[in-house]
């Protein structure tokens, strides 16, 4: 049985239908990327699943409707990284990450070890003592992701877990983009289902198991990277000419703009 099952999801805000008839199923250990042009409904999908905006349709999480989960119990199993994280207060890096352990009662010693592990997974351990407000945008982003990972770090706390990431690689340099994707893949392997929105399709193809393509609120394709990333589909969805080639070393599709 899948960890997250979305059935006939529809989101309407102020008489405008943002998502229509979305079906989706996520399994522990797999990474699914949502791609599509701006305004296609990628963020809306993540917000609907996490309960930030009202929606119609069924969303089943770990066997029961997602709205039936009690807030703290859900927070131990489901973590989300939003696109915008503004924090005007000068917390240190460690303080920001350790906020993630709020829903747990695992004790200070385990919590601080988890924070250290999550920070080293995101390569931000050197920011532990720095003040958040003095960090660069990319450093803040990686620290926020470390916080989200720390929230659902251990399988023994909550079993199967779900991670939602809204454009996690935006504002990161190329090295850290790949480092982040590798960290997310390793994290998924510990029994986490991951759903993320990405703009870089080559990056999505290299690391994700499934791709879901949205256009104007509707799902136009879904499946493995090889089956979804075709020149005709991408040209139609993004309204621009593209070339898809095969990566000489990994064999994964690479999308190049014209």
């Amino acid at each position: 049985m899948s960890l997250l099952a979305v059935n006939k999801l529809q989101v309407t805000v102020a008489d405008k239908t943002l998502l229509r008839d979305i079906n989706l199923s996520l399994n522990a250990g797999s990474i699914t990327a949502v791609i599509g042009p701006n305004g296609a409904g990628k963020t809306t999908l993540l917000k609907a699943i996490s309960g930030d905006i009202p929606c119609r349709g069924d969303i089943k999480f770990a066997g029961q409707p997602i709205y039936h989960w009690e807030a703290a119990a859900r927070a131990r199993k489901l973590a989300i990284l939003s696109q915008h994280n503004s924090l005007e207060f000068a917390f240190t890096g460690t303080e920001v990450v350790s906020l993630a352990r709020g829903p747990h009662s695992t004790g200070t010693r385990i919590d601080s070890q988890i924070c250290i592990d999550a920070m080293s997974a995101m390569d931000v351990l050197h920011l532990a003592g720095r003040l958040y407000t003095t960090l660069s945008g990319g450093e803040q982003q990686r620290l926020q992701l470390a916080r989200v990972l720390a929230q659902i770090w251990r399988a023994e706390d909550a079993g199967e877990r779900l991670l939602l990431l809204d454009e996690p690689v935006t504002s990161l340099d190329m090295g850290h983009q790949h480092q982040l994707m590798r960290a997310v893949r390793d994290f998924a392997a510990t029994g986490v289902a991951v759903l993320m929105t990405v703009h870089d399709m080559t990056l999505a193809a290299a690391y994700c198991d499934h791709l879901l393509v949205l256009k104007q609120g509707e799902c136009v394709a879904s499946g493995s990277a090889q089956s979804v990333l075709t020149e005709s589909l991408l040209a139609e969805v993004f309204a621009t000419e593209v070339t898809v080639i095969t990566h000489p070393k990994t064999g994964k599709p690479v999308v190049i703009g014209q």
Binding site: S50, G51, D52, A75, L87, E88, L99, R130
Partner: protein
């Protein structure tokens, strides 16, 4: 040394320094005034032993209630400021932002205009104090009702409503000023400057009781408030019941500021600047921020009130005028040292 380690040291240092400062300002408040009293006599009088002359009575009947009220009001305002700054996720929020001070001004002016300035009701509380409290709560209720819809309480709407209600209240108090006679006008403007001259044992006890409620609530709110600083939806995803937390905080702040305004008039600066100063020194973690702000606010108002009593003795200055005079130089020094923390 990293900022994190330095911050830990500073929290420890600040808790000791502020405790000593509070004790010292308490002793100063008891010992200084029209009649100076030696520290040894103060301690004897507090222990209930007889002291030569009137010193014993001056301490226990006049200065002790006043010092307790000053400490209570100062601590309450500072804690409320810390809570509101957390709630608004803005280090520049002030307790008066939700309209409570402006509403209290209307209530107090109305009570004075209706001739209640000298009447005492409800266990030593004057009609003016009761009017101020009711006016303050009415305004907060109005602000809260408008800002709360089906999607919960909008903090941005609350801020705008606070401004609207404050403007409305200002014109109402202006109208009352216009129609008041000279004697009433003087009373109204003195009330607005704030003063602790109405202190009594029962008032001080009430204020300290409210402060105790605020500090006890901290054990539950502080960690949730830290999480709230990440953002409302971020806090919700971390299992915090954000709507309940917001409602709790607004009720606590309305109670704290409402009672303190009723007791001592409007005292600016303490609620805005004390938590801000503590944050610059010891960081934004509410588990340290709230108690340190309470200590700092109590010390600041005690010192300001002592100064207000002593400078033109035997006449008194309104304490509201002195708080900024005492606190602003400290704040400026801190701002100069920690400019990089303020964006």
């Amino acid at each position: 040394m990293s900022p994190a380690a330095r911050r830990q040291q500073r929290v420890t240092l600040a808790s000791w320094a502020l405790t000593v400062l509070l004790l010292a300002s308490f002793l100063a408040a008891l010992g200084m005034g029209a009649v100076a009293i030696a520290p040894a006599d103060i301690i004897q009088a507090l222990l209930g032993q007889s002291v030569p002359g009137y010193s014993g009575d001056i301490i226990t009947r006049i200065r002790l209630p006043r010092a307790c009220l000053a400490a209570g009001v100062g601590a309450t305002l500072a804690v409320c400021g810390a809570y509101l700054q957390g709630l608004f996720r803005n280090p520049l929020a002030d307790p008066s932002l939700i309209g409570v001070t402006a509403g209290a001004s209307v209530g107090a002016s109305l009570a004075i205009l209706l001739g209640g300035g000298t009447l005492g009701v409800l266990g030593g509380l004057s009609l003016v104090a009761v009017g101020a409290f009711i006016g303050g709560l009415l305004c907060v209720w109005l602000v809260y009702r408008v800002a709360t819809g089906v999607n919960g309480t909008s903090v941005a709407t609350m801020l705008l409503m606070g401004i609207a209600v404050t403007a409305l209240a200002a014109s109402l108090t202006g109208l009352m000023d216009y129609f008041a006679d000279n004697e009433m006008l003087r009373r109204m403007s003195l009330w607005r400057m704030g003063g602790l001259d109405g202190a009594s044992g029962s008032r001080a006890a009430l204020m300290l009781g409210v402060l105790a409620v605020l500090l006890l609530s901290m054990t539950r709110c502080a960690r949730q408030l830290n999480t709230l600083l990440l953002g409302e939806s971020q806090a919700r995803h971390l299992g915090v019941n954000v709507e309940r937390l917001k409602t709790q905080l607004i009720i606590l702040v309305a109670l704290g500021v409402g009672v303190s305004v009723a007791m001592a008039g409007s005292i600016a600066f303490v609620g805005l600047v004390v938590p801000h100063m503590v944050r610059l020194w010891a960081g934004p973690d509410h588990r340290a921020l709230v108690p340190l702000s309470a200590l700092g606010g109590a010390s600041l108002l005690l010192l300001a009130d002592t100064l207000a009593r002593v400078v033109l003795s035997p006449t008194e200055l309104p304490v509201g005028l002195v708080t900024a005079l005492v606190g602003a130089p400290f704040f400026i020094v801190l701002l100069r040292q920690h400019r990089e923390l303020v964006r």
